[in-house]
């Protein structure tokens, strides 16, 4: 990277502080990536089994494998062989993150030092794409919003890196794992630091790539590789939306820099169709990256990757990029109330939808995956309703407690797997039916996960309570007098929509409490179902893993103090709100029609009371209704029926997509994809041309579309007879044509 | 300008007419009376020994091709020789003679370089064994 100060950054107050080293932030993990990548290349590369028939099927959980090469499906630990340069990797991988976090803290302190900062600190490095009118500079932008993201990414990232040292210690691909992880942090930092949409997009694509690589980290299992591909393809749909939005922005504003776009946004016209469409396309991109309806399907499958990856990428950071993008584009979204309202609706529907699926999952990571989708829904509700601060707040607290939950589950899986490994049993180490009563064996994990559970359920004074309450409170406040309430969603007046969404939000909170308590009960309480011989080997993970858990646990408990509501003055009130004020304050006001987002204290107290009651009711219900004693291990469980079956199978959405979208695309409509749907580039376009001639499954018109290039090609190839005489004749005829072209003028 | 090509056109016309005329006239004037003796290929009066279309060893072709290549490249020396006076003179010739003091070795060097390149080719062919009959 040719990082150099090219353009003077002017007299920005930050330009003389440590913030001028902002380029070091992404560079550090990149250096880590290079070092670890080289280390992984130096070791003799051993590919996984190339025999596809060895691929596992989810249904055959109990099938035992003879070799240690294959674990059970979804089982995190595969072949065991400590890499020879693991020591160095353990130093470099987390080390660069520690340095980056230190630097981030220093920059944060510098930002606090300069006081009020109204213009972002932009550093330009070089002109990246000087093509015509399009001037795109490689530039980083540091402001309050990106600072929050940088702190979350480097802080939580650091803890997860440390955790990984223990979790992945026996994996033969240890350096490769850390190389990917470092690369991910690099791209994530590029994403949040980029000063314009294209740079953000590079980070956006880069984190997608790393996610793809890490989901398919154990690529020798077909299910894992498929999950990676699913994530890849679904994200392409989202990216298509993002790209279209970018093109439209450029076409109408002539710039893609955040600063200029924000300044010029109002020229698009408040509430105009144009800005609404741009915002909706942007939101399509966000829905892909942040797993919202209808593009959420990839995230649960993405749990095929190693658990720390799920914690870092698929819970704490990457999937929140969509929330960040909307917060970053707040100037646009606040101009488009109907688009914002759409965001609210999609967010709240996603929240309740995913939460209901989470009620009935047996795989501990699947529960957390659907929980993540559901919580992301909350964040979108927040940013959609113009409560950008609340959205970022929830993003932050969610990063704490969800990372904790994932790492905790990783700790559980780690213990389960080791127990199975000792006795040579091959069972699903992630199925809660095989757990139970782990409290005695993993006391630290148990306590910390309870803290996180209470946080996510919204029980005061844990972090999630404050952020979730702020979201629901802001949403409720919007139902009167705001621009959102005056807008319409599919013809329904905004105030009705908002109130319905508020109810959905409450219902989601209830379900969240239920499924999280269920998970805790089944995992840690009741009798143990792991197996008599295995039980002796269940034990807490080493400190390198529990240490980060403790740190996250503390954050999950006290995270709410980052932005206390005015009504609970247990410390400095509204820190985050004040911090983000220069970025989003104006937009929030615009969406609330100038009125401050406050509601009457009595109403607010009542709302809080309702929320807390609902959370407690959910927990209580789970305690009363669920009987962990009655569970039997997965291999002995009967198949489920009715509602439970529907929920376990995630409403059959995957099957629906397969039948309604994937199959028709695969079979017929490739010509539609010509018009630009990105999925076609990978899958459809190619087959469009390559269908065999006697494939009758496609309707005539569609086939004709693909037929033209194919038949042209066929005709051309018929001339390619291999006869040198023919070739010479064609040459002569061509010559005559050229002569003709020269003579007829 | 087209006029300057007229003689060539005339020549082409003459050659074509001549060739066609000879074949045509012999066809028109002869009465074919073939005998077995007449049908045999003409080999300067020698009795015919076998089929004329025999397979030759590739070595014949090899030598022939090499001969032609070097032969043609040697032909380059003729125009060089014809221009040698001019080539070894720094300025234009005056009445076919180079002004004193203007002689140069340029022409000689050119040919030496050319021959050196030929020599490289020759050495290559030799070392490769292409000139060996067995």
């Amino acid at each position: 990277m040719l990082l150099q100060h090219a353009a003077a950054t002017g007299a920005h107050p930050l330009s003389d502080t440590v913030a001028r080293f902002v380029w070091l932030l992404p560079l550090l993990p990149f250096v880590g990536f290079v070092i670890n990548g080289l280390l992984s290349l130096t070791s003799a590369y051993k590919a996984g089994p190339s025999d596809p028939s060895a691929a596992h099927d989810e249904a055959h959980a109990a099938v035992s494998h003879e070799s240690e090469e294959h674990g059970a499906p979804g089982d995190d630990h595969h072949s065991i062989a400590r890499h020879r340069s693991a020591g160095l990797v353990s130093l470099v991988g987390p080390g660069v993150l520690v340095l980056a976090f230190g630097l981030a803290l220093a920059i944060f302190a510098a930002m606090r030092g300069v006081g009020e900062m109204h213009a972002p600190f932009v550093q330009q490095y070089f002109s990246w794409m000087p093509v015509g009118d399009l001037q795109i500079n490689a530039a980083f932008q540091l402001d309050q919003l990106s600072m929050v993201m940088v702190l979350v990414i480097t802080g939580v990232g650091m803890l997860i890196h440390v955790f990984s040292v223990g979790y992945m210690q026996d994996d033969p691909g240890y350096p490769r794992y850390f190389a990917y992880l470092n690369l991910f942090v690099f791209f994530m930092l590029v994403l949040v630091l980029g000063a314009n949409y294209p740079i953000l997009f590079i980070g956006w694509e880069g984190v997608g790539l790393c996610s793809y690589l890490l989901i398919g980290y154990w690529f020798s299992d077909k299910a894992n590789a498929d999950a990676g591909k699913k994530a890849f393809i679904v994200n392409r749909i989202g990216d298509f939306g993002f790209l279209v939005a970018m093109f439209m922005l450029f076409a109408n504003l002539g710039t893609l820099d955040f600063v200029s776009v924000n300044a010029a946004a109002s020229s698009l016209g408040a509430g105009s169709v144009l800005v609404t469409v741009i915002c909706l396309f942007l939101f399509l991109g966000c829905a892909g990256k942040s797993a919202q309806i209808p593009l959420y399907v990839w995230l649960p499958d993405a749990m095929a990757g190693p658990t720390p990856v799920s914690a870092l990428i698929h819970a704490a950071t990457m999937v929140t990029a969509g929330v960040y993008l909307i917060a970053r584009s707040n100037a646009l979204f606040s101009l488009a109330p109907s688009a914002s309202l759409t965001v609210v609706v999609v967010g709240s529907v996603t929240a309740i939808f995913a939460a209901s699926i989470g009620l009935k999952q047996w795989d501990i990571k699947k529960v957390l995956a659907y929980s993540t989708v559901s919580q992301l829904g909350y964040m979108f509700v927040a940013v959609g309703s113009g409560a950008y601060v609340a959205g970022m707040f929830h993003l932050m607290t969610h990063a704490f407690f969800k990372a904790l939950l994932f790492l905790g589950s990783g700790s559980v899986i780690y213990a389960m797997h080791r127990a199975y490994h000792h006795t040579g049993k091959h069972d699903d180490a992630q199925d809660m039916r095989n757990m139970g009563g782990l409290r005695t064996y993993l006391p630290i994990t148990w306590a910390l996960m309870w803290a996180a559970t209470l946080a996510i359920a919204g029980v005061p004074p844990f972090a999630g309570f404050f952020s979730k309450d702020e979201i629901l409170g802001s949403l409720f406040a919007r139902h009167e007098g705001s621009a959102l309430a005056q807008a319409h969603f599919l013809g329904i007046p905004g105030n009705i929509v908002i109130l319905s969404c508020y109810v959905l939000g409450l219902a989601t909170a209830f379900m969240t409490a239920v499924y999280m308590t269920r998970m805790m009960l089944y995992t840690f309480h009741g009798p143990n179902r792991t197996g008599d011989r295995e039980r002796e080997h269940l034990a807490e993970a080493p400190w390198v893993m529990t240490g980060p858990l403790v740190a996250l646990g503390i954050l999950s408990v006290v995270g709410g103090w980052f932005n206390l509501p005015g009504i609970i003055p247990a410390g400095p009130v509204g820190v985050l709100e004040h911090w983000l004020e220069p970025i989003v304050g104006e937009s929030t006001l615009r969406l609330t029609n100038g009125a401050p987002a406050e509601i009457a204290h009595s109403t607010e107290l009542m709302l809080i009371g309702v929320a807390v009651l609902i959370a407690l009711a959910g927990i209580a219900l789970a305690f009363v209704r669920l009987k962990p004693e009655r569970l039997v291990p997965a291999s002995a469980s009967p198949p489920e029926h009715g509602v439970e079956e529907v929920l376990l199978n995630k409403y059959y959405v995957d099957e629906l997509y397969d039948a309604a979208i994937v199959q028709p695309i695969v079979a017929t409509s490739r010509s539609l994809l010509w018009r630009g749907i990105d999925v076609g580039l990978i899958d459809g376009l190619t087959r469009l041309f390559l269908q065999s001639k006697d494939d009758d499954s496609a309707p005539g018109a569609v086939r004709m579309g693909g037929l033209l290039p194919r038949s042209l090609g066929w005709f051309g190839s018929q001339l390619q007879s291999g006869q040198v005489g023919t070739y010479a004749w064609v040459l002569v005829i061509g010559m005559l044509f050229v002569l003709g072209a020269f003579s007829f003028r | 300008m087209e006029r300057t090509y007229l003689p060539i056109l005339l020549l082409v016309g003459f050659v074509v007419t001549n060739a066609v005329a000879i074949i045509l006239i012999s066809h028109l004037t002869l009465r074919p009376r073939p005998t077995a003796e007449k049908q045999t290929p003409y080999e300067s009066g020698m009795p015919v020994l076998g089929d004329a279309r025999e397979r030759f060893s590739v070595k014949f072709y090899m030598v022939a091709v090499l001969f032609i290549i070097f032969d043609i490249e040697t032909v380059f020396m003729i125009p060089w020789g014809a221009h040698f006076r001019q080539l070894s003179c720094g300025t234009d010739l005056v009445a076919g003679v180079c002004p004193t003091g203007q002689l140069s070795l340029f022409g000689l060097w050119e040919m030496l370089v050319f021959i050196a390149i030929l020599l490289v080719g020759f050495i290559y062919v030799w070392k490769k064994g292409a000139l060996q009959w067995d």
Binding site: G48, S50, P52, F689, L690, L712, G713, V738 | V120
Partner: protein
């Protein structure tokens, strides 16, 4: 800042120094090659020496590029265009030599002359880049072609190889005759073979409608069209590419094309610049035909080498668009494109070298599920395919190459809408086979009976890493390259006075 007075033999020699260095070195290496008995080790030694010779020549070229001075009009150009082309040609030659070392080992070829032939061909190409006289153009083309005929038939035991080489030789001789006839007619019309003098006389003597000149130009176009494998003079390409050894195919597809386009462009822009109204339509037609035919037939190929052969034809079409733009911008776009195309082609053929087994063609079947067995190989191939496709970001420099050609077409004095539209549409079609390769590699399972892929030999790995890195890095920093490429064109334009739009040209362009 040297000043070359090309009427002085010493200056002429100095201006040709890199070319002469390569030729002289090739002579020495030829003798060295034949001095020892044929052996695999000797072959490698000569290959290595050839690479070093190319590196030395590259050094000389770069020196000339950065220290070029003034040159009088003469048969030789000493401008940035020439040296930029030389750089691309030499990079390609180095890559071809490196692949050749490994491929010879794989095929059991022990003849060390293969490398020398490549050097001779490259010196011919450098001559083509330098030529400002039709006779020198012809000399360069012949030096290049004769070497390539021999290289194409290198694989004597292969029937396809022998067939391809013979076809190439026959058709090549045919096209050379046409080219030479074209030169003769142009000479007949103008009385000179110097490119700039032709231009001057055409303008001064109002030869624009002289039938002799027009037929001469048409025949020249056919001759160049053959060398760049433009439709309908492309028929030889798939058979020859398919039959030749992999490195030679890459060399033909990329480097030969580079040199041919360089000479093509120089002849067209220097000699016939004033006649753009005359030749524009023909070149545009060839470009459209080439893009359409190359890309559509490419869709049907399962043999990866044949697929790349048609891809190479299609790229000739894209490059013809740059020629048809008839502007300096087109020239710089062409140079940039050639660089990108050379990198991607050699990368792709490096992968083919790894995957090849004996003489059997590499099919898409062999690529199935490559990702699961050799992920880096698959990723590298994906980068090359995306670069050839012109995909943004992941295709690196390839995207900008297409972009600049498109831009040149649209910003030409007469915007080339039809060409631009065809370019975009055929690029979409080409996604059908480039992305198919990627899909097969990443989304298909590895066939159960497939043999393990052999480990990547050192030189091949070098080529793959270097090309992939260059593609991606130059894709991030295209403007530096563009700056050099743009610098590479003004000297070319310096000889060309601004075009006066003749009524005839108007008529030709508004159809």
């Amino acid at each position: 800042m040297p000043i070359f007075d090309l009427s002085h033999p010493a200056d002429l020699t100095a201006a040709l120094f890199p070319d002469l260095l390569l030729m002289g070195g090739a002579m020495v290496l030829l003798l060295w090659a034949v001095w020892r008995r044929e052996s695999a080790a000797h072959q490698r030694t000569i290959g290595l020496a050839s690479i070093w010779l190319c590196v030395a020549t590259l050094g000389a070229v770069l020196y000339m590029l950065f220290h070029q001075g003034h040159v009088t009009d003469g048969p030789i150009a000493a401008d940035s265009f020439r040296f930029m082309v030389d750089v691309i040609v030499l990079l390609g030659t180095i890559a071809a030599l490196a692949l050749g070392i490994d491929d010879n080992d794989r095929m059991g070829t022990t003849t060390a002359e293969t490398h020398v032939l490549m050097l001779l061909a490259s010196s011919g190409m450098m001559l083509m880049a330098a030529a400002r006289d039709l006779m020198i153009v012809f000399l360069g083309i012949e030096l290049m072609s004769v070497s390539i005929y021999a290289l194409a038939g290198l694989n004597r035991r292969s029937v396809r190889g022998a067939e391809g080489a013979l076809k190439y030789f026959l058709l090549g001789a045919f096209s050379t005759a046409i080219l030479l006839y074209g030169i003769a007619l142009v000479y007949g019309a103008t009385g000179t073979t110097g490119l700039y003098e032709i231009h001057q006389r055409v303008v001064e003597l109002q030869l624009g409608s002289s039938p002799l000149l027009l037929i001469g130009m048409a025949l020249l176009l056919v001759g160049f069209g053959f060398k760049v494998s433009s439709v309908p003079f492309h028929m030889w390409a798939p058979d020859v590419y398919d039959g030749s050894p992999n490195p030679v195919t890459a060399y033909m597809a990329a480097t030969v094309k580079t040199a041919a386009f360089a000479a093509f462009l120089r002849v067209w822009l220097e000699a016939f610049n004033a006649e753009i109204g005359t030749w524009h339509r023909a070149v545009a037609m060839l470009a459209i035909a080439t893009m359409v035919v190359g890309n559509t037939i490419g869709l049907l190929q399962r043999n990866v080498k044949r697929m790349l052969a048609y891809s190479s034809i299609a790229h000739a079409g894209f490059l013809l668009v740059a020629v048809a733009a008839g502007s300096m911008q087109g020239a710089s776009a062409m140079l940039f494109y050639l660089l990108a195309y050379t990198l991607a082609t050699f990368g792709a053929f490096a992968v083919i070298v790894v995957l090849s087994r004996g003489d059997a063609p590499v099919t898409t079947e062999d690529l199935s599920g490559l990702w699961t067995e050799r992920p880096w190989l698959a990723v590298a191939m994906a980068v090359y395919m995306l670069a050839l496709l012109g995909f943004p970001v992941f295709g690196g420099i390839g995207f900008f190459a297409k972009w600049y050609v498109l831009k040149a077409a649209l910003q030409a004095e007469e915007p080339q809408i039809a060409l631009a539209v065809t370019l975009v549409l055929t690029t979409v079609v080409s996604a059908g086979y480039y992305l198919y390769v990627i899909m097969v590699m990443f989304m298909r399972p590895r066939p159960a009976n497939s043999e393990a892929v052999t480990p990547t030999p050192g030189w091949t790995r070098f080529v793959m890493v270097a090309t992939a890195a260059a593609i991606l890095i130059l894709g991030i920093f295209p403007d530096q390259t563009v700056r050099y490429v743009v610098r590479g064109t003004p000297r070319l334009g310096a000889y060309v006075p601004p075009v006066k739009t003749a009524p005839a040209r108007q008529a030709a362009l508004t159809h």
